[in-house]
Every structure is written in structure tokens, then in C-alpha cells.
Symmetry: C2
């Protein structure tokens, strides 16, 4: 970075690193035919089991307006199924299909290789330390 003031400024370095990671991830997922929202939604479904769209949106931290389109796309590709909740007619229960589970496994691999690429300059110990330090400042 050409500006002295910025090149060891934490907020700046975080922005650069995050942008680079985000770019790598978006590109890698796009190559696999997915976007971040799809991965997060599939992961939430696998970890928490079938859930209403609203619950799923909260778990995967999707905006309520984006949940609809995201799940519709996943359903169109046969990765999830949506059915009305017999106990509460407002809800639609979303479940992961076998194809969805396989897709998630594949995307897990894509995501892992992006981490590898992003952290390539660091040793295993340094990677662990970075994760620890980021966890302390990430908030939430």
C-alpha cells in the first residue's frame, strides 16, 4: 500500500484480507455453481436439521427477503425440499435432500481449499494463532 498511514493499520489490513478472501470464495463457489448464501443455507440445514424458512434465515444470517430467492434456487436444483408445516400453516419446512447433502460436501471442499489458498503464506501454528486472534475481535 502506498500510504504509510495505512499499511500497518488494523482496520485497513482487515479490509484487504477480508476482501481478498471474499473474492476467492465468491469465485470458487461460482465455479461450483453456487453462492455464499447457498452454502450457508445448506450448512445450516445440515447442522440443525429441517427448519422453517425464518429459522433458517436466522441461523445462516440471511436477510429475510433473501431467504425466499435463495431457497427457491436451491429447490429448483433439487438440493432442498419445501413443504407446509402441518402444525403451523404460516411456516414452510425446509429439508435437505440427498443431492443437497452431496452438494454441501462438495462445497465444503471448495471452501476448505479457499482457506488453504488464502492462508498459504502462513505456517500451521500461525494459522491457528490468526484464527484465535480474529475470534477475539470478531464480535457477536
Amino acid at each position: 500500500v502506498p500510504l504509510d498511514r495505512l499499511d500497518s493499520l488494523p482496520t485497513w489490513l482487515l479490509n484487504r484480507s477480508s476482501a481478498r478472501g471474499h473474492r476467492l470464495l465468491t469465485e470458487a463457489l461460482a465455479e461450483a455453481g453456487a453462492r455464499g448464501y447457498h452454502y450457508r443455507a445448506l450448512a445450516a440445514l445440515e447442522e440443525q436439521g429441517p427448519a422453517s424458512q425464518a429459522t433458517l434465515g436466522r441461523l445462516a444470517e440471511l436477510d429475510r427477503s433473501d431467504v425466499v430467492a435463495t431457497l427457491a434456487e436451491l429447490e429448483a436444483n433439487g438440493l432442498v425440499a419445501r413443504a407446509p408445516d402441518p402444525d403451523d400453516a404460516r411456516r414452510r419446512i425446509v429439508t435437505l435432500t440427498a443431492a443437497g447433502r452431496r452438494r454441501l460436501k462438495r462445497l465444503d471442499g471448495v471452501v476448505a481449499s479457499v482457506q488453504e489458498e488464502l492462508l498459504a503464506p502462513l505456517s500451521a501454528a500461525e494459522r491457528a494463532e490468526l484464527i484465535r486472534l480474529l475470534g477475539r475481535i470478531a464480535g457477536r
Copy 2:
């Protein structure tokens, strides 16, 4: 984070940390009546001296279309002055005014206190280590 898959994922932690830093910075600068672009432009001017708008944009990593509005705002507040380059009529030379220098000093303080707030959970040694690790993966 409610999802196991994400809570120690570097790209995810970087996004959270970066977003938190960005929010703190934007808010603190707004309270001081500035935005990130203003700070970067003023800093570039102080570090590199008077420069054309295009050069300044490259130094401060502003988009070419945003340079105009940013500098117009700074000029309206008397923080920079713009004058035609006598040697090249395409260029407008931008210089930092005394008021601009004072404002930059004040914003440096604002930016520093944001770093302090963001990194509050870390010791001095941890902060240095984080900066070092981020520098290695930030790219550019």
C-alpha cells in the same frame, strides 16, 4: 456464530472482524464530519505532497469517478485547494491547506482510537502479531 462450520473459518472471521472495524471507523469518522475517502485523500496529500487528481486517486485508492466528488467536498470545506497545472492543462493540482492539515491530525486521532477500540481484547504483543499475520495475507 450459530453454525459450527463458520465459527473458526478464516474467511468468515475476517469478514466479521473487517465489518466490525469498518462500522466503528465509519461511525467515528462520521461523528467528526468525514468519511473514509476524505481521510485517505488528506493522508495521501500530506504524505506525497501536491498532486494531480488522478495521481491522488491512485495513491488513496479511490475510484476515478469518486475522486471528483471527494475533492469537491474537501475544497468546499477549505481543506484542500485545487488549481490548474500550468504545465499541463489537463491536470488540476490539489494541495493541502493549513486547515486541511489540522483536520487530518484530528482524524488521525479518531482513526487511532478506533484501532484501540477494535483491538481492545488483545495485548500489545498480540496486536503486533495480528498485524504481522494480516500483512502476509492481505495481498497487493
